[in-house]
């Protein structure tokens, strides 16, 4: 077992001395990340080979097509967080169609829910529900839109899996929903633990008043309270462009660290305006901010040192065969490295394909069979983890990974459990 405690203590002490001697007047000397070593690939990614290992009886079936839907903000302001999972799912489906052992052809049907609006999500869902060829849906990419349509899916008996929606509320309704990653309850708790581990004492917790952002921020606040850390400021903001009032309020509260629950579109502006006003406190956000776009829009100098948490691991730095193959295949097909949730999107495709394979054994792929398969799944192999869902649709365990912006790039530090 690697001991990171000693370097942590030494690093914190050094950082305290360094900041006490620094000339910048505005930053609190409370905490810094100089001590976060992190391992290059430290993830809990499972190393299992993918569905190709499974064999099914090839049916004497007439063939035919079934559809797997996908919905999320594909073209709107936060699309950087969604296109990865869409691409990953499409890749998984394409690869399985090429193998051709399902007996049916699977057609991928992505629909754009622009800006992940909860108002437009139901009409997107109707398209899936009314199309009898759709046997399962991957979506929504965001929590708000998923919550808006869960009831509809439940009535239609249509299974939906999400590679990125993390709000814990989604699984409290008994919907045929299956989550492929940990919830914000876990992410918030780990984020708070990390904040505590860094030695930060006065925290400003800001959220964007969405289901995801506020949910995550509230968990962080509650966990910080349990750990005895002061929350110096709690604010819920309307997404806008001018954050002057927020920045001034944060400055007045003099926090050691600012935690923001929200999406990239706002995060980059907040970081930029904070740094321009001379607020040097550490900035931390969740998976909704973990994309290169925040560095590009905030400016690399401004974004430097930003900490991000995610229930996802970066497949680009993973060393297991499955991840490396995925990265190679993805880059070959899309001309760019997999972005956030691409690997989870791939897994979403895989579990859907497995469900279709099982359902196709009796000659006909039906929605109830897909739901039943996913409910009963035990150790279903994906490239990021293996999946066993409990009665509510959650997976057990789940690792939260910390990242940091260094030299203009988001670098994986490792699992938070390993870091603190």
């Amino acid at each position: 077992m690697k001991h990171r405690f000693t370097p942590l203590v030494a690093g914190t002490v050094l950082a305290l001395f360094a900041s006490a001697c620094s000339s910048s007047g505005t930053s609190a000397a409370g905490c810094s990340t100089d001590d976060l070593a992190g391992s290059a690939s430290g993830t809990a990614a499972r190393l299992i080979s993918v569905a190709a290992a499974k064999t099914h009886n090839l049916l004497a079936q007439a063939g035919g097509t079934v559809k797997v839907g996908f919905f999320g903000d594909l073209t709107g302001g936060n699309s950087a967080l969604v296109t990865g999972s869409r691409n990953g799912a499409a890749l998984a489906i394409e690869q399985r169609n090429t193998v051709g052992d399902l007996g049916v052809t699977v057609e991928f049907m992505p629909i754009d829910n622009k800006d992940a609006s909860s108002d437009t999500a139901p009409s997107v869902e109707q398209k899936f529900i009314q199309d009898k060829g759709v046997v399962g849906v991957i979506g929504g990419a965001f929590s708000g839109e998923t919550l808006a349509v869960g009831e509809l899916f439940s009535e239609a008996g249509l299974a939906h899996v999400s590679p990125s929606a993390t709000n814990p509320d989604i699984t409290t309704h008994g919907w045929p929903f299956f989550r492929l990653l940990s919830t914000d309850v876990v992410q918030g708790a780990k984020a708070a633990a990390l904040i505590d581990g860094l030695g930060c004492e006065a925290i400003a917790v800001i959220n964007d008043k969405t289901d995801y952002g506020q949910g995550l921020a509230d968990v962080v606040s509650a966990e910080l309270a349990k750990l005895g850390t002061t929350v110096a400021l709690t604010e819920g903001i309307e997404p806008t462009t001018d954050y002057t009032t927020l920045v001034a309020s944060i400055e007045a509260a003099k926090p050691d660290l600012i935690f923001y629950g929200g999406y990239t579109k706002e995060t980059s502006l907040i970081i930029k305006q904070l740094r321009e006003a001379g607020v040097d406190a550490l900035f931390m956000s969740g998976d909704g901010s973990k994309e290169q776009v925040i560095v590009d829009q905030a400016g690399a100098a401004n974004a430097e040192g930003t900490i991000l948490t995610c229930p996802c691991a970066d497949p680009n730095v993973a060393t297991d065969d499955a991840s490396m193959k995925f990265v190679a295949d993805y880059t070959a097909k899309y001309g760019a490295a997999p972005s956030i949730y691409a690997a989870e999107g791939y897994d979403a495709g895989l579990v859907m394909l497995e469900a279709i394979a099982a359902s196709a054994e009796d000659g006909k792929v039906t929605r109830p069979e897909i739901v039943a398969f996913l409910e009963a799944a035990d150790g279903l192999e994906g490239i990021t983890k293996s999946y066993t869902w409990d009665d509510t649709g959650e997976i057990a365990g789940g690792v939260i990974i910390a990242y940091q912006v260094k030299d203009g790039k988001i670098v994986q530090l490792g699992s938070i459990d390993d870091l603190i």
Binding site: G236, T241, D242, A252, A277, Q297, G299
Partner: protein, 308 residues
């Protein structure tokens, strides 16, 4: 209120800076209302054209003359922003409002046309530039420059406030002293009589739209430069605030628009300090309601008939 005085030093820079931008946009609403009694709801998109032009100009300039000082690049970008927004406003008048004027259409038709034009312009830009936010090039490293005790001004605050004040003074003097300005005031007071006096109403209206649009273009550049962002719908919220500012100050009054804009900027920021950021919009509208209850035509307008 105790909170007012304790918060003011921290909030004054942000308040004046935001307020200046709102005031510049509000000028567009108030000028057009003065001559046409029409709320030009598409003005928020004229403002957005300003942010867009500013971004494109600065992108081109930073490539063409990378070593030029940022402040000069900004100054150079002012011209295309004013021109594009000004001409866009003129085009808007010709396409969306003049046909209605020719036909003596009811007020409602102008309103619907304005909203339609607003949607059209925003979505045209969306189709062209996409739905994702775009970033301004960094021409000036933003940092605090003036510190007097608790008061802190960023260099971008200073630039925005100075540019806005200069523009507002120029406009005010232009309307008060020039012939065209006199024509605008005449048409605002009584269009029919003005035409009897030899004022070309159509020309004055076109010029009014151009000037209002140009002010919106300046505001767009200042806004985009301040926050570094351009998006197709970036005009929506500032447009609403500016319209509120124009009404608060007295719709149709130029000085009212300036006063209203600065007031809203300051009130927003101070109330965010006193009550929390969630309450800043509430505070502004509560103030608006209170003012209108006791002065229905706004702070600087007196009575129904006079329009200056």
């Amino acid at each position: 209120m105790d909170c007012l005085t304790t918060e003011l030093p921290f909030r004054i820079a942000g308040g004046l800076s935001s307020g200046s931008i709102i005031a510049l946009i509000a000028l567009g609403y108030t000028l057009v209302y003065g001559v046409l009694q029409l709320i030009n709801f598409a003005h928020s998109e004229i403002f957005m054209f300003g942010t867009l032009t500013g971004m494109l100009t600065l992108n081109a300039l930073t490539v063409a003359v990378p070593s030029a000082p940022g402040i000069l690049l900004l100054a150079a970008a002012l011209v295309p922003c004013m021109l594009i927004s000004g001409f866009a406003a003129v085009g808007l008048e010709r396409i969306a409002y003049r046909p209605l004027r020719r036909r003596g259409a009811p007020r409602l038709a102008y309103l619907i046309s304005a909203i339609g034009a607003s949607l059209f312009m925003a979505n045209a830009v969306r189709l062209w530039r996409g739905s994702n936010p775009e970033t301004y090039p960094t021409v000036i490293a933003v940092e605090p420059t003036i510190r007097l005790g608790d008061i802190k001004f960023l260099n971008r605050d200073v630039i925005v406030i100075v540019v806005a004040i200069v523009m507002m003074i120029l406009l005010d003097q232009f309307v008060r002293r020039s012939r065209v300005g006199m024509g605008i005031r005449a048409v605002a007071q009584d269009a029919e009589t003005a035409s009897l006096m030899g004022v070309d109403i159509d020309r004055i209206i076109v010029l009014t739209f151009f000037i209002g649009g140009a002010m919106g273009g300046v505001a767009g550049l200042m806004f985009g430069f301040s926050f570094g962002r351009q998006m197709f719908d970036i005009g929506f919220l500032p447009g609403i605030k500016a319209f509120t500012a124009a009404v608060l100050g007295g719709i149709g009054s130029i000085r009212g628009a300036m006063l209203g804009g600065l007031s809203i900027g300051l009130i927003e920021n101070i109330s965010a300090g006193c009550f929390g950021t969630q309450w800043k919009d509430v505070s502004v509208f509560v103030l608006l309601v209170l003012v209108l209850m006791f002065r229905p035509t706004g702070i600087l307008r007196q009575g129904q008939g006079q329009k200056t």
